[in-house]
Amino acid sequence: MKVLLLNMGLSLVITSSTLLAQTPVDNIEQSRQAELLHLLIQDCGSCHGLTLKGGLGPALLPENLTGKPVSFLTYTILNGRPGTAMPPWKGLLKPEEAEWIAAKLVKGVQP
C-alpha cells in the first residue's frame, strides 16, 4: 500500500512536472548553468564520483539511468531518498535547476 501511494505520489509529480516542462535551459542564466555544472561534478561527485561512476552513491552515467525519466530524477534530487544518504537538495536548488541537472545526467556529462 505504501509503495502504491508512493508510486501515485511520484506519478503525480511526474505528470505535473511533465505538463509544466519547458526546456529548463531557457530560463537559466549561462553563468548559473556553469555553477550548476560545477556543483554536479564537484558536490554530487563527492558521493557519486567525479566521473559519476559511483561511490557511496550509485553510478549516474546515462546507461545507469535508462528507464528513469528526467522528472523522476528531478524529484529525487529535490527531495532526496529517505533511508539512504541521498539528501534533499531543494534548500540549495530551485526545481528548474534540479531539472537542468537531471537532464544533463540523462544526456551524459562531459567534465
Binding site: 561512476k53 557511496l56 539528501p87 540549495l92 567534465p111
Partner: protein, 385 residues
C-alpha cells in the same frame, strides 16, 4: 674511465642527497595528478601525472617516508617515489575504492573497496595481491561497501561495513591466513572511523542512527560499545550534503572532537569515560575536525554551501576563536609535523594556502589544479595514518 664515472656518481649522490621528512603530496583531483611539495620552505618540487580518477583520493606512506601509496576512486593503487618524482607502479585493484592503510611493519598495503565490497591487501614493495577479503554479509552473498580502514598495532587492519553495520578486525601476522574477527550489529551505516593515536580505541561514526560505535582493542572480548546513545535524538537534522570525516588526530588532550552529522556542531567527547563533554556551535556542517599536533587548537572545515569557511576552536575554552574565509571549496587541511603552519586546499581557487597557526596570517600560496587531500610524509610514523 669506469672509476671516474663511479666516483662522479658517488659524489653526485652525496651532493644531491635529500631527506624526505618535510615532503608531502597534494592531490589534484580533476587532473589525476599530484604535486610533490616540501614544507620547510613551502614550495612545489614537481608534479606526478597519470593517477586516474582521484576524487576522494587519500594516501599513506612507506616507513622510509620515500614512497606514497595513493588510493584513487577508480580502484587504482599508485606507488609514487617522492625523491625521483615518478610513478613507480600502478595497479587497478578494484572497480571503485575509498581509502587505504599500511601495516605496522610497513610490508602490506590494504585498500578498502566499494565495488566489489571488501578489502584487498598488497605487498608494499611489488603491489602484488597478498590477500582478498570480500565483505560478505547477510546470507553470505551480499557484499558491503567498506569504509574507515585503519592500521592497528599487532599487525592488524580494522574496517567497517557501511551496508552491513559491522566492524572487522583482521590480523595479518600470517599473510597466507588472515584471521578475521567480526563484530556485528554495531549500528546502521557506519560512515567513517578513527583509531586513537595510541592505537587502542577504534571509533566509528554512524550515519543511519544516533551515537557512535566504540571498540577497545585492549579488550576485544568486551565487544563493540555504543557511546553517546542520546546524541541527536529527537532533533530534526539538516540534509547532509557531504559525509563528514573522522581522523585519528582529532584527539586533543582528554577530548576527542568529532563532526556532528546533520547539525552545525562539533561534538566533544571525554576519552576517559567516552561520555559527551560538550557541543560547540559552528558555522556549518563540519567535514574535517582536526587538532593541531599539540592539541591546543582544533580546525574545522564545512560541507557545501559553507565550504568557503574555516573555524578554529580553542580546546580549553571549547569556543570558536577565529573564523577564516579562504574561498570556495576548502576540502582538506594538513598541519606541518609540529603544527606551526597548516596547509589548506582551496579547490575553486586552484590554490593551496599555508597559514601561520599562531597569528592566522597567510605565509604562502601554491598553485594546484583543483586541490583536495594534502598528505605529509610524517604520516609514515603515525598509527592510524
Amino acid at each position: 674511465m669506469k672509476w671516474l664515472i663511479f666516483t662522479l656518481l658517488l659524489l653526485s649522490n652525496t651532493l644531491f642527497a635529500q631527506g624526505t621528512g618535510d615532503l608531502g603530496i597534494i592531490i589534484e583531483r580533476a587532473t589525476g595528478s599530484v604535486k610533490v611539495i616540501e614544507n620547510s620552505g613551502n614550495s612545489t618540487l614537481g608534479t606526478i601525472t597519470g593517477l586516474g580518477d582521484l576524487s576522494h583520493a587519500s594516501a599513506v606512506y612507506s616507513r622510509d617516508a620515500r614512497f606514497a601509496y595513493v588510493f584513487g576512486r577508480d580502484g587504482g593503487l599508485s606507488k609514487l617515489d617522492l625523491l625521483s618524482r615518478t610513478l613507480v607502479k600502478r595497479v587497478m585493484q578494484s572497480g571503485n575504492s575509498i581509502g587505504g592503510a599500511i601495516s605496522q611493519d610497513g610490508k602490506l598495503v590494504a585498500v578498502s573497496n566499494y565495488k566489489p565490497g571488501g578489502v584487498r591487501i598488497f605487498d608494499a614493495e611489488t603491489l602484488d595481491l597478498v590477500a582478498d577479503i570480500p565483505a560478505t554479509y547477510g546470507e553470505g552473498n551480499l557484499l558491503s561497501k567498506v569504509i574507515g580502514l585503519v592500521d592497528a598495532p599487532d599487525q592488524r587492519f580494522i574496517f567497517s561495513l557501511w551496508d552491513a553495520g559491522e566492524i572487522w578486525v583482521v590480523d595479518m601476522t600470517d599473510v597466507k591466513n588472515p584471521k578475521i574477527t567480526k563484530f556485528k550489529q554495531i549500528g546502521k551505516n557506519p560512515y567513517d572511523a578513527l583509531i586513537t593515536p595510541d592505537g587502542r580505541f577504534y571509533l566509528a561514526g554512524l550515519f543511519g542512527e544516533d551515537g557512535m560505535a566504540l571498540l577497545d582493542l585492549w579488550n576485544l572480548q568486551q565487544g563493540v560499545r555504543r557511546i553517546l546513545p542520546d546524541y541527536g535524538k529527537g532533533l530534526k537534522k539538516l540534509p547532509v550534503y557531504k559525509m563528514p570525516h573522522l581522523e585519528g588526530w582529532a584527539i586533543a588532550g582528554n577530548f576527542a572532537f568529532v563532526p556532528a552529522v546533520g547539525l552545525h556542531e562539533v561534538l566533544v567527547i571525554n576519552t576517559l569515560d567516552w561520555t559527551e563533554a560538550g557541543r560547540i556551535p559552528v558555522h556549518g556542517q563540519p567535514v574535517f575536525v582536526m587538532a593541531r599536533p599539540d592539541g591546543r587548537h582544533v580546525w574545522v572545515n564545512f560541507a557545501v554551501p559553507d565550504n568557503d569557511t574555516v573555524q578554529v576552536i580553542d580546546s580549553l575554552s571549547l569556543k570558536v576563536i577565529k573564523q577564516l574565509q579562504p574561498g570556495k571549496g576548502v576540502l582538506h587541511m594538513e598541519f606541518e609535523p609540529r603544527g606551526e603552519e597548516v596547509w589548506l586546499s582551496v579547490r575553486d581557487k586552484n590554490k593551496v594556502q599555508v597559514y601561520d597557526t599562531r597569528d592566522f596570517s597567510v605565509k604562502a600560496e601554491l598553485f594546484a589544479d583543483t586541490p583536495s587531500g594534502i598528505f605529509f610524509s610524517y604520516r609514515a610514523h603515525r598509527i592510524g595514518l
